[in-house]
Symmetry: C2
Subunit: 417 residues, 2 copies
């Protein structure tokens, strides 16, 4: 393998805003009561005005504040890696690259947006954030970010993950986060991201000192993640590649996919592929319509692919991909045919993850394994056709805290949904 | 923080052998039966001849084989990082650097020697290795390394760690390792490294197809780790530093300490500091004499600091530092005053580890926390005296699989031995 490092000074200093570059404008989110387009004031109880403005900004580039850059530099720029040992294992003419977001404090791409979200809230005088977390990556990231600005963090963790992943909870506590299982009022319920969002929003609106932070779905979250794709473009050029033929990433709410893919949307030759679990097939089986982001119907209605706000996916190991909806921007790109979507079973995911661990020496998170599995499919298709394809995927998180899932797979106890 | 990356082409292509650079020669290991100096043939049932020759080599540099370099490049060169946020937290004039060995497949420095050990065995036609593991880092590293050469791996894991760290076992299994708790014949015994070594050596000598691999203590193991210090020297120069004032690392058997410190031994101005747990104070409280490496007295007798081969340390969380003996080279350097040693309690270790996690965004292994705690002490001493000291420590492993220990500390349940 070959790593393409960038120096800290080459890190992007502005985020790439896709909104003004879309062929047609986004349909607006609607107020859950009036069903009228939401106004900035409607969102002010939840978010600081700087993030609300980003949510609908027409600016093509938005500067990253200096104090945010200072913290992102703890782990950014992240390496772009050519997976030569995986290529050899697959005997493919394809060149496979991955962007390694697992090197962050939380072990995933999530801190890329947790840090600016904490920063903008702090600037508005907010000292406490509430949030939900599925697999635990987002809660860990926000706990780290709030610790950097001396803020409190209250995390509602999907109960299935809370019970499967005690280490995730402890990691949040190392950074001072408070963690409780969700739904808080039903200990027999394994929970879902939609239900945990309701818990976190309810907490936030009941208190004057708190705002709410979301780890995916919203436009400003995906905006903050575009540092991934911007760096990857520069690093691919340094590796001697003009453009990738295909960009692949797992998709739950859409933030790691948006982060790596949006900077390539204007390059029409580049295929963009969303990978989701068969157990929660939002983009491949859902309807494209207005729906709530949460179970309780407290969030605005968003135009997106959805399985229904009350959809309760099975307890698969990729907890971060168990969301009934999807980012409205990702949904629009899929709806209009600019982005593809594919759903795969978790057995295939773990088979690919173990191949990758043996070839490249890194044990991926189950979410991350979704992208790897489809990257392998693409590499094998290139072998079939003899094409020298350039494949880029997002290595969005390590699996060090997901090893119980590997145990289940290796011992033959995993249900292959 | 600032990272000093090196390109893969700048990686050292030879190991730094300290043996011919010592002022006086090492006393030889003695045969456990005859008490005569061991011959290469005595060691041949356990190790391939290439490693036995390295154990006593007079060559100042030993070339790293190409196939070994190819695998080490999966994660090497590792970054040297200036911990500017930690400096600021401590308000110290010292400049603190750490060498980040946590980026390896196993999450520690251990694969640096696991890979060449697997390689040299494979070259000699051996297809199965037995070993012991304490914290689990070494077993993980050897499982990864044997997988690269299609070999079998049998790991005897200290029972206390086996039970505390189920994730470590699973990680070994992801790479195809077989893992059993040790001592194998006494399920009520929490075990020790010395006992696990006996189990692994006994397995090896009973079979023709197997060799044994040790993760620390021996000269060839420390030799392989010198890539750490060699890279760090070059990276410090790139950072504008002539030499560090002090080099700090935790010491169990001595391999991560030897790895970072040996290339600085000829520079007499550089202080070298070994940090061990108060619960297993080999260098600070042990006797300097010939002793067995294992409980059962099957290994050669080595000239080293020892607490006695039957010493059973309490079940502290830094399982990798629970060894009754120490590397003979490290022991000699301490005995002759070239290296200092200090012992600290685990409460101090976790306090330092959490400070570091909040400042630098990385959660260290408990072993690694020992070095951090003393680096912080040195930085505070520099603040007291107003010195612009340059501190280098080895960030020898992440704590992602040690979070249960953090939980114990944060909840006030940890016994501060």
């Amino acid at each position: 393998m070959t790593r393409y490092n960038m120096s800290e000074s080459e890190m992007p200093s502005a985020w790439f805003n896709i909104l003004p570059r879309l062929a047609t404008p986004m349909d607006p989110p609607l107020h859950p009561g009036t069903r009228e387009p939401v106004t900035p004031d409607d969102l002010a109880p939840l978010f600081p005005m700087a993030l609300i403005m980003q949510e609908m900004s027409p600016e093509p580039w938005i500067d990253i504040p200096g104090p945010v850059l200072d913290i992102l530099r703890l782990w950014r720029p992240t390496p772009l890696v050519r997976a030569e040992r995986l290529e050899k294992m697959l005997d493919t003419p394809a060149r496979i690259y991955f962007k390694d977001e697992s090197v962050s404090p939380a072990g995933s791409h999530k801190p890329n947006t947790a840090v600016p979200q904490a920063y903008y809230n702090k600037m508005e005088g907010i000292n406490r954030l509430t949030t939900e977390t599925g697999a635990g990556q987002w809660g860990t990231a926000l706990s780290f970010a709030t610790a950097q600005f001396d803020m409190e963090c209250m995390v509602y963790m999907v109960r299935a993950s809370f019970e499967q992943k005690p280490y995730r909870k402890i990691m949040m506590e190392v950074w001072g986060g408070n963690v409780v299982p969700s739904p808080i009022d039903d200990p027999s319920n394994p929970g879902s991201l939609g239900a945990a969002i309701s818990d976190a929003v309810r907490d936030c609106v009941q208190r004057d000192d708190s705002h709410y932070a979301l780890g995916s779905v919203l436009n400003h979250v995906l905006l903050h993640q575009t540092v991934i794709g911007l760096e990857a473009r520069d690093q691919l050029r340094a590796a001697g590649e003009e453009l990738p033929d295909v960009v692949i990433a797992p998709c739950g709410g859409g933030s790691n996919l948006g982060g790596i893919a949006f900077p390539f949307v204007p390059d029409e030759s580049v295929r963009l592929v969303a990978v989701e679990p068969s157990a929660c097939p939002t983009l491949t089986q859902g309807r494209f319509e207005y729906d709530f982001g949460d179970v309780a119907g407290m969030t605005p209605l968003m135009p997106m692919y959805t399985l229904g706000a009350d959809f309760m996916p099975p307890s698969i190991h990729a907890g971060g991909l168990r969301y009934h909806g999807d980012s409205p921007i990702i949904s629009k790109l899929v709806h209009e045919g600019r982005m593809e979507a594919v759903a795969i079973n978790q057995g295939k995911v773990f088979d690919a993850a173990i191949k990758f661990a043996n070839a490249e020496g890194k044990v991926p998170a189950p979410e991350c394994g979704h992208g790897i599995a489809v990257a392998i499919d693409e590499a094998l298709a290139a072998k079939e056709s003899g094409e020298e394809k350039v494949i880029l995927f997002n290595y969005c998180g390590h699996g060090h805290l997901d090893l119980a899932a590997y145990d289940e797979y290796l011992s033959g106890r995993m249900v292959d949904v």
